[in-house]
């Protein structure tokens, strides 16, 4: 109840894209463009082992031989890959020991974004300080990771992946690329070649991670691609909940964000991965905004392992993203809960793939698309059943809500069943925000925008409830803000 109230307050109080400010941070760039030398530059900057450089160069070679995919239902100006910076980092002394050494300008940015980076405040119980660990990635590098020491006490490793490459090379080498190989797709190959940072998480056997883990991505520098790499490994019988948040300044040019996220769940392990994506969507005429081309995949390789993806996608000019699960383990289970909201000229082509390989594996897909303005939204999903996946089950529900006359919503479900015992259910609805509902809510005292926010939050409620409490409120606000002005 309180959350909905906050949504409504937020509509009244906030600007259209409140995170659109730019910041002047002294930044170190790699030379513009992409080449084997740039890949070497990045690897050297990070002080990586030789095998890592080889891995990157192999990815770069593969990328050169690949073509940008065109099958998604999105249109955008071609990206000039030689006109981008592949590395941008705030100038800093190396090896920060504490938060006090971080550039105060950067701390101010995170404070403005409402991201808690001050452990002391949290530990001291300062009012309003949320208790969750944060890895803050600014352009190409991680600037600070909180609660590392406290997490280490229970054996949880939570650190920038660049640091993990130095401190836990054996773990990184074992799992990196084991879920999303370098040759997986065009953007994944690009990411493998040039990724500069991201988060690394390892939860040891039997450990339930004592707090929410989160990474907060911020693109600040202009003309810069952000290529982060996240790797989460939940060892046998462990559990963790992880959240990523993203924002970027308002800039006229499009910016490329091509991330790769790999999750590995061993026997009886569970990973809950939530995303609140609020990249800059471009202006009212469709100028600027982030190209969000992301590969996210979970490998449920252990028996009875479980991965749950929850995403709230409100930002970006173009989204191309299909968080997926490979359900290898027996009785493994995959879930995908998605809210995709598009307004203005945004385009989103998003969905999931559930690849059932293990016996009695289960999957559940609930996708809610809300389209307004001149935007276009596509749900694209695949449920694939291997001959050995006896007793598998899937339930898919895709609901679309249209606001206004100029938006589009499409559902493209693929099913491949190669096992006679497969049980698949698919439900889909498309509705328009009804004038009856709007008037009813307005008659009871809600302004038009409050009414839209309340009705849309009702439409997406099933999915919203899957988010960790701390983030549900923010997500509800986002829903309201991203639909401002959608009813004329």
């Amino acid at each position: 109840m309180a959350a909905v109230q906050k949504t409504i307050d937020a509509v009244a109080a906030l600007e259209k894209y409140e995170h659109g400010f730019t910041s002047d941070i002294e930044t170190e760039y790699a030379p513009k463009g992409l080449s084997a030398d740039i890949v070497r530059f990045i690897s050297e900057k990070k002080g990586e082992p030789a095998w890592m450089l080889e891995w990157r160069l192999a990815a770069y070679e593969r990328w050169l031989a690949m073509e940008e995919p065109t099958w998604a239902s999105v249109k955008y100006t071609p990206i000039d890959y030689q006109d981008l910076f592949y590395y941008a980092a705030p100038k800093e002394k190396a090896g920060l020991k504490s938060l006090d050494e971080v550039d105060p300008e950067i701390l101010a940015i995170y404070a403005k974004l409402g991201i808690p980076l001050k452990e002391q405040e949290v530990l001291a119980g300062v009012e309003g300080a949320a208790r969750y660990a944060v890895d803050a990635v600014f352009d190409s590098v991680s600037v600070v990771t909180t609660f590392k020491a406290e997490l280490a006490k229970v054996g949880v490793i939570f650190m920038p992946i660049s640091e993990a490459l130095r401190e836990h090379p054996e773990l990184v080498r074992k799992y990196l690329g084991s879920v999303v190989p370098i040759s997986d797709n065009y953007f994944a190959a690009l990411n493998s070649a040039v990724f500069s940072d991201g988060s690394f998480v390892y939860i040891p056997p039997g450990v339930k991670c004592p707090m929410e883990l989160s990474t907060y991505f911020r693109i600040n520098a202009s003309n810069t691609g952000q290529f982060e790499r996240t790797l989460i490994i939940a060892d046998k019988g462990s559990y963790c909940s992880y959240l990523e948040g993203c924002t970027a300044p308002m800039r006229d040019e499009n910016q490329l964000h091509a991330a790769v996220v790999e999750l590995v769940a061993l026997d009886d392990a569970e990973i809950k991965y939530s995303t609140v994506q609020n990249w800059y969507p471009g202006d009212a005429e469709g100028k600027g905004g982030i190209y969000n081309f992301v590969t996210k995949r979970a490998d449920c390789r252990g028996d009875r392992s479980k991965v749950s993806w929850t995403q709230v996608e409100t930002g970006s000019a173009v989204t191309w993203k299909y968080p997926s699960c490979i359900l290898k383990g027996e009785e493994s289970s995959g879930e995908f809960y998605s809210i995709a909201i598009t307004n203005g000229h945004q385009q989103a082509d998003t969905g999931t793939k559930m690849i059932h390989l293990g016996k009695n594996s289960k999957s559940r897909i609930i996708a809610k698309a809300v389209s307004a303005g001149k935007s276009d939204s596509t749900y694209r999903g695949l449920v694939s059943v291997h001959p050995k996946a006896t007793g598998m089950r899937n339930f898919t529900q895709c609901d679309s809500l249209l606001i206004g006359k100029d938006c589009g919503s499409h559902t493209v479900p693929y099913i491949e069943a190669r096992n006679g015992s497969a049980q698949l259910e698919h439900e889909a609805t498309t509705t328009r925000l009804s004038d009856d509902q709007l008037f009813y809510a307005q008659q009871r005292g809600l302004s038009q925008e409050e009414a839209v926010a309340l009705l849309v939050n009702g439409f997406v409620r099933d999915v919203m409830q899957k988010l960790p409490m701390e983030f549900a409120v923010e997500a509800q606000k986002l829903v309201a803000i991203s639909l401002e002005g959608s009813v004329g």
Binding site: Q442, G445, L446, E450
Partner: protein, 249 residues
């Protein structure tokens, strides 16, 4: 007082209300009766400000303030409440959330302090008990899967919590069995007060046995064609609307 003068409302190209004039002083309950298609629901929508039901001519004021220039939410904040003939389902929004959001939106609009969650729950518990409603039902999405009777009770519950001053009840009796009708009517009667005016729209005299009107008006052909005391309702029950139809034609 509610003052409606020479109100003309067209829906699309079709004129529905054609010069309706009506006064309802505060403290009084007036019944609007009339045949199907006479414009009864249109009257309710026009006063509440439904888009598509704008006045082409005439005026509507409440307590001396013009309503026609206001948004529906602004009218609600000024005390206008329309109990719907067919209450709308709001999927995913629990009834409690909906009503509290509405109440606080109105309070903000009036510059009053918002109601806290615990205080609101206390209010709801008392009001729902009076209407013999199951409190758990209020945790469910508003009106979704509710029976016709439950929806009507929900309307009256919202009315009790929002404390409007101008109450328009559109066919509140339809879909109610006799017990529910009694409970709902008691709920409405509890809201009668010297500063409230009520407009009770109904087909049947039956409801007026429970909610006693001060005045009864016959709406036919988009106008008030006859007015009288409660006995007019009894007369209509006995004779039907036939004699008013030629007037309307």
């Amino acid at each position: 007082m509610l003052k409606i003068e020479n109100l003309h409302v067209a829906v699309g190209d079709k004129p529905i209300l054609k010069g309706l004039t009506l006064d309802v002083p505060a403290g009084e309950v007036h019944a609007i009766m009339g045949p199907n298609g006479a414009g009864k629901s249109t009257l309710g929508y026009a006063v509440a400000g439904r888009p598509g039901y704008e006045a082409t001519e005439g005026s509507v004021s409440w307590k001396g303030e013009d309503l026609l220039g206001l948004e529906p939410a602004e009218r609600a904040a000024k005390g206008v409440f329309l109990s719907f003939q067919y209450p709308i389902e709001i999927p995913g929004v629990p009834a409690l959330t909906f009503v509290r959001t509405a109440l606080n939106a109105q309070k903000r609009a009036r510059g009053e302090e918002e109601v806290s969650a615990p205080a609101f729950l206390k209010l709801v518990k008392a009001a729902s008990a009076a209407l013999k409603m199951d409190f758990d039902m209020l945790k469910r999405p508003l009106n979704v899967g509710f029976s016709g009777g439950e929806k009507k009770r929900m309307e009256i519950l919202q009315m009790a919590l929002l404390e409007p001053s101008l109450l328009i009840l559109d066919e509140t009796d339809s879909g109610l069995d006799i017990d529910a009708l009694r409970i709902v009517s008691e709920g409405v009667n509890a809201l009668r007060s010297p500063d409230r005016a009520m407009l009770v729209i109904t087909h049947y005299q039956r409801l007026l046995d429970y909610i006693k009107p001060d005045r009864v008006h016959v709406l036919a052909g988009g106008r008030i064609v006859a007015s009288g005391g409660p006995e007019l309702a009894l007369q209509l029950e006995a004779e039907g609307y036939d004699k008013y139809l030629p007037v309307a034609a």
